[in-house]
Amino acid sequence: MLDKILNSRFWSWLFKGYGFVFLTFLYLPLGLIFVYSFNANSINMAVWTDFTFDWYLTIFGGANSQSEFDAAFTESPERIFEVVRNSAVVALCASTISTVIGTATAIALQRYNFAGKKFYQALLILPMIVPDIVLGIALLIFFVGAGFELSLLTIIIGHTTFLASYVFIVVSARLAGMDTTLEQASADLGAGPLTTFRRVTLPQIMPGVVGGFLLAFIISLDDVVITYFIAGVGSQTLPIFILAMMRRGLRPQINALAVLLLAFSFVVAAIGLYLRSRKT
């Protein structure tokens, strides 16, 4: 009955139309940013004047044909390089540490039974539910109270607290699908617990570990809310920096930066997908 209705011409077109509109809403803004990042009009970027690479060049320090007006609204390549480096350091450190913690916790919770296991599991999921803003404030209060000076280190610690949860969930899913007799087989063939972990468990859960790492990396890279609270003066990350730029007006250079960030995220996601498809 329902089948018949859904297969009718009218409904079929309606659904196709809906899908089209939905995807347009989703991707049109991204497309616009991409187009505008090549627009030479620096006053009103919604009005197309000329094609230019200048905005990209200003990021890398290659543009020279700037008016006074433009110069006031563009950031120097040195400054951009600094915040990009900050972001990279934070994302790399935070995702590495949380990958180690998240993976270890996932294995412990999967393989061992101990009192309070369920409670512990709930605690691990909690940071994903707690609103970012609450987590940000809590971290700030903690750091200030504990006498930490806000710096890249505090951002790394802050990110790790909630990124470990993401890694935990991704790796847990992978572990649940793993055949435990493989580990028994390894022990049976004379391998001690460490050797078994290195030679059997780790290769088996590697796609999960890498996936968790990449997910954590991307989340850390574009986190605004939590970072906003715990970033010190000299430790701006790229998203915070872009936010600050926006306050002074929506300038074409931001478009170019956003496109680069988007492209980078795509590359990371593509690596993740590739690794997943290669070993399952």
């Binding site: 055949d179 493989l182 028994q184 390894s186 022990a187 063939l189 004379g190 391998a191 030679r199």
Partner: protein
């Protein structure tokens, strides 16, 4: 000195509902060096549990497992000189066949050159030379099983534990592997502890069979003994098919006893062990029940009956014969193509007899 000895082993699991499952209930077993011992029992009787306790993946709650007099308590699985062929083979999917087989040697840090030679030998032993660079999922079930075998044998264990390794194979393959395994065991001289719930497999391959049910060892004996002289009713019914008559001995002449069953049937058997007044069960295999030849020489302990069902299984006819008083007898009759007179079908009147020597007596359970 005894080789692998299990003494009064107990193992209970707690189910999530809180009940206790006694997977091993006072198991004692003396496994000899170089023998092919089969653990035979229905699903859930504790066979895998026993293997896990031997290999060290599970600890027994009480009792002792010892190898050549040395208690294995506290020795972790990776330090025990036993290897296991798992029910699902458990080949490492991220390693190719050669690396799977060489895993144990790699872990033991055997020199590369020697390792490669031994891997090649092991693959040859199981008839898979040249398969080294394949992935496990590029092999058939039977081939995977042989890889698992090679992977375990390469370490030259004292005991090889095999958990229903043939259950996933089709019948033809299984029969081939049964022969191959038996030949292999003869040639490598390693003790095999082989788990199966297939009684034919157990009879075909074993030096000795340990019949297990409900976590208890019911009988340990050679295949012929288990089949011809089952220790109790469970073994009689689980290994092959049995006709069982329960009753009291009321007459004994020489070593021929006559038993009267509850519904006044009189059956005879040969026995030294039992005397007048004993409660016994008479166990008779279906192939020992024969049709009486027509004419004069009719033996005196005959059973009249009507054929109810007649199933043709190739070499034999399997008959269910209604012998009256609510009892059925199972008869396996050798299919005789040359004999044109012989015509047996449902509804045929038949007279059955057996030689008292073919009957086996056991003590009846008190009830």
């Amino acid at each position: 000195m005894s080789f692998l000895k299990i003494t009064s082993a107990h193992k209970a699991y707690r189910t999530p509902e809180g009940a206790m499952v006694h997977a091993l209930n006072d198991v004692s077993l003396d496994i000899r060096n170089n023998e092919f011992l089969t653990l035979l029992g229905p699903s859930g009787c504790g066979k895998t549990t026993l293997l896990k306790c031997i290999s060290g993946f599970e600890d027994i709650d009480s009792g002792e497992i010892s190898l050549e007099g040395k208690d294995l308590k506290g020795v972790p699985a990776h330090r025990r000189p036993f290897n296991t062929v798992f029910q699902n083979y458990a080949l490492f999917p991220h390693l190719n066949i050669a690396d799977n087989v060489g895993y144990g040697l790699d872990v033991a840090k055997v020199a590369k050159k020697k390792r490669n030679i031994r891997v090649e030998e092991a693959l040859e032993l199981v008839g898979l030379s040249g398969f080294g660079s394949r992935e496990p999922n590029q092999l058939s079930g039977g081939q995977q099983q042989r890889v698992a075998l090679a992977r375990s044998l390469i370490l030259r264990p004292r005991v090889l534990l095999l958990d229903e390794p043939l259950s996933a194979l089709d019948r033809k393959m299984r029969e081939n592997m049964q022969i191959e395994l038996k030949l292999l065991q003869d040639s490598v001289g390693i003790t095999f502890v082989f788990v199966t719930h297939d009684q034919e497999e157990a009879l075909a391959m074993s030096d000795r069979i340990a019949v297990i049910s409900d976590g208890k060892v019911q009988q340990v004996a050679s295949p012929t003994e288990v089949y011809d002289e089952p220790a109790n009713e469970f073994v009689a019914n689980f290994v092959g098919t049995s006709n069982i008559f329960t009753g009291r001995i009321f007459e004994k002449q020489g070593n021929i006893v006559t038993i009267e069953t509850a519904n006044q049937r009189k059956v005879q058997a040969e026995s030294d062990r039992f005397g007048i007044g004993d409660h016994v069960q008479l166990i008779l295999r279906p192939e020992h029940l024969k049709f009486t030849p027509g004419g004069n020489g009719i033996p005196d302990n005959c059973i009249e009956g009507v054929v109810e069902t007649c199933i043709f299984v190739g070499s034999d006819l399997h008959l269910h014969v209604d012998v009256g008083k609510g009892r059925k007898a199972v008869v396996h009759h050798r299919h005789d193509r040359g004999n044109a007179d012989e015509k047996i079908e449902a509804g045929s009147q038949v007279t059955l007899y057996y030689s008292p020597r073919a009957a086996h007596l056991i003590k009846a359970m008190a009830n």
